[in-house]
């Protein structure tokens, strides 16, 4: 066992910001790890990559990757990313954010970006609550779960994110947990090479805040829940892809071809400028 070598992914990380702020057992580090692993396997041109994140623990990701990155206001990462991708379609724009940022305050931006099929890639770390602010309920909080704002148990039904993404028009939709590190990495690779709006939900442990209030007080206990309950059902009906204490349906749900918004727009520009304008 030797300690002098540096981690092979060090070049993808801003050394001044490491170690990151995430708790022991937090899945955000795994999401970041898989993302970098995918970039490494793809030999991604880091000059062309822009990472955008919103507010939340996972939102800190933009600060850790050693690429052009932007940390937006709460919920607006996708709208910001739309501007970037349209302004320079050559850039690979990846949004890495959380369940609350993308689907509560940012919900409207998500469905419209998916509808437009703008070529941004979205990775959502779903940890079932608002971790950064102390563990409040979010749109993916499971039924009966305890959070700081549902002290009597959650009565709100939770969003099925892959169903929402599919219905909104995404060209690639997948869900994995932070235990499925290899499949997650492969999904990210696939997504990065795909045209159009892509979405990956990563079911992620938040042991310190969500897990602790729901009888899973360590990262290991939450990962064991993933191991026990996960079932891979590729291309099954996303509307039936539940997340319950007994069953977490994971897999790739959608992988279709559809022309992206930026391509359509630039085709339109070319078309207009060839034609004469009649007044």
């Amino acid at each position: 066992m030797v300690e002098e070598l540096t981690h092979p992914f060090s070049k993808y990380l801003r050394s001044a910001m490491i170690p990151h702020i995430w708790c022991p057992g937090c899945g955000n580090g795994i999401v970041l790890n898989c993302f970098i692993h995918a970039l490494d396997e793809l030999q991604e041109d880091l000059d062309k990559l822009v990472v955008v994140s919103g507010i939340g623990c996972i939102g800190r990701t933009a600060g850790y990757v050693n690429t052009d990155s932007f940390h937006t206001t709460h919920g607006r990462a996708i709208a910001f990313a739309t501007g970037v991708k349209l302004a320079n379609p050559e850039l690979d724009v990846v949004v890495i954010s959380g369940d609350g940022d993308l689907f509560a305050i940012g919900g409207n931006h998500f469905i419209h970006a998916a509808r437009r099929n703008i070529g941004i890639k979205v990775i959502c770390a779903n940890n079932f609550n608002y971790g950064m602010t102390g563990g409040q309920q979010g749109p993916t909080t499971p039924a009966e779960a305890y959070t700081t704002t549902t002290p009597y148990g959650n009565i709100e039904p939770s969003f099925n994110l892959v169903h929402l993404a599919t219905a909104s028009g995404a060209t690639y939709v997948a869900r994995w947990t932070t235990l499925h590190v290899r499949r997650l990495t492969q999904s990210i690779k696939r997504m990065m090479q795909k045209e159009g709006f892509c979405f990956i939900e990563v079911v992620s442990p938040c042991p310190e805040i969500f897990g602790r209030r729901n009888k899973m007080k360590t990262g290991l206990e939450m990962m064991e829940w993933f191991r026990r309950a996960s079932v891979v059902e590729n291309f099954s009906d996303p509307s039936k892809a539940d997340i319950t204490p007994e069953r977490i349906v994971v897999g790739e749900f959608v992988n279709i071809e559809k022309i992206s918004y930026e391509k359509l727009f630039h085709e339109k520009i070319a078309h207009i400028n060839e034609q004469k304008v009649n007044w």
Binding site: R14, D47, F70, F80
Partner: protein
């Protein structure tokens, strides 16, 4: 109007909104994200047609918040970007205007002011957003706001707004009222070589040493854009010169916030523009902006006819507030009259700068701006 890829030149008879849109294109704006709202919709509609002719991007976003977010993104990706809205949309955009200030994003936001508050009177003019232009977003910051008072200025000041935004890396506001936006006047479009266009200062530092928020002597940091290989980070959190969040340090907070304010306030002498008419010997000075300044000019002329030594200070820049210019006329004038289409906004700034000199505020709300007669009567009352 000519077709593809041709900037307008020569004399044209157009509306304020169209002039603003053409000004944006002339200034080099190649990204517009907006949402329909009376009375700014025509800007979006015109740009939806003109932007693609120049290879620029037009997108109608799902709401105003998305619009300003996309504008900030496009600006960071290297394009000059703009959005246009009115009161309700302007309120929605405030959080992200704050983000643009914090991340020092050059962009232009047009607010065609209408009757407020809330949904108000969508088709009627107002000047009720001028304080919001300065204080609308939370936190301490400084911003630039311009007030056109003619269709020609809708063209000229839009170009000026883009130049200021690029020079100072700040969101610049164009605060026009509905009358200026919807009226039709003759506009002279100069040829391209007569127009001064300024672009953002690029960094000369190497990639390894680049710090996105390291200012030069004028408080402005040179800007790199996405895709140029600088691998920089920008955040709305309080950050140091490297752009990394530093949320626990009073020193960093103090340094950053004060610099963002100093960037505009200490450069006010280069930014502020006013137009002075008959002020040399004026005893009653009228301070006005926007459509009201047109009536004020007639009123001042009428006053002179009647032997009253009146003069007009027209504010072209609302923020940073032209304190020096107002203080100067306050020294010689017996009274200052401030007509506004609101319940008293810029008049407070005038009072502050005028110190001992009495300021008479003339308020008017509703469809009609102050008539020259109304302002003349007020001048006469203060002789």
């Amino acid at each position: 109007m000519s077709g593809k890829k041709a900037l307008l030149t020569g004399a044209h008879f157009i509306s304020g909104d169209i002039a603003c849109a053409e000004g944006a294109i002339t200034a080099g704006c190649r990204f517009f994200a907006g949402y329909p709202i009376t009375p700014a919709t025509e800007i979006a509609e015109h740009l939806s047609e003109r932007m693609p002719e120049f290879g620029g991007i037009y997108i109608q976003m799902e709401d105003e918040i998305a619009s300003i977010a996309a504008v900030i993104g496009a600006s960071y990706a290297g394009l000059k970007a703009m959005t246009a809205t009115s009161g309700p949309g302007f309120s929605l955009m405030q959080e992200n205007i704050g983000l643009a200030v914090m991340t020092e994003t050059p962009c232009v936001i047009v607010d065609i002011m209408r009757g407020g508050p809330s949904t108000g009177q969508p088709t009627m003019p107002g000047q009720q957003d001028v304080m919001q232009a300065k204080w609308g977003s939370h936190g301490d910051y400084a911003i630039i706001a311009l007030a056109p008072s003619s269709v020609q200025e809708m063209f000229d000041l839009t170009i000026e707004a883009f130049n200021l935004a690029e020079i100072y890396r700040v969101p610049t506001l164009l605060m026009a009222d509905e009358v200026i936006a919807h009226m039709w006047e003759k506009v002279e479009f100069p040829s391209a070589k007569e127009i001064k266009i300024v672009n953002r200062r690029k960094t000369k530092v190497s990639r390894e040493n680049y710090m996105p928020f390291m200012p030069e002597n004028d408080f402005v940091p040179p800007m790199a854009c996405f895709g140029e290989g600088y691998h920089f980070h920008a955040t709305g959190l309080t950050h140091d010169e490297r752009g990394y969040p530093k949320t626990q340090s009073s020193e960093v907070q103090s340094k950053l916030v004060r610099r963002l304010c100093d960037k505009i306030n200490n450069n006010a002498d280069k930014i502020v523009k006013v137009q002075e008419t008959m002020l040399d010997d004026a005893e009653i000075a009228v301070v006005a902006y926007g459509i009201v300044s047109r009536s004020a000019l007639s009123a001042v002329r009428k006053a002179r006819e009647k032997g009253i030594k009146a003069g007009l200070l027209r504010l072209v820049t609302l923020w940073p507030f032209p304190e020096e210019q107002v203080a100067k006329i306050a020294e010689q004038a017996k009274a200052i009259v401030v007509p506004e289409m609101n319940c008293g906004q810029m008049t407070r700034e005038v009072e502050r700068a005028a110190k001992e000199t009495p300021v008479a505020f003339l308020s008017k709300l509703g469809e009609e701006p102050h008539t020259p007669m109304e302002i003349f009567e007020e001048i006469r009352r203060n002789v």
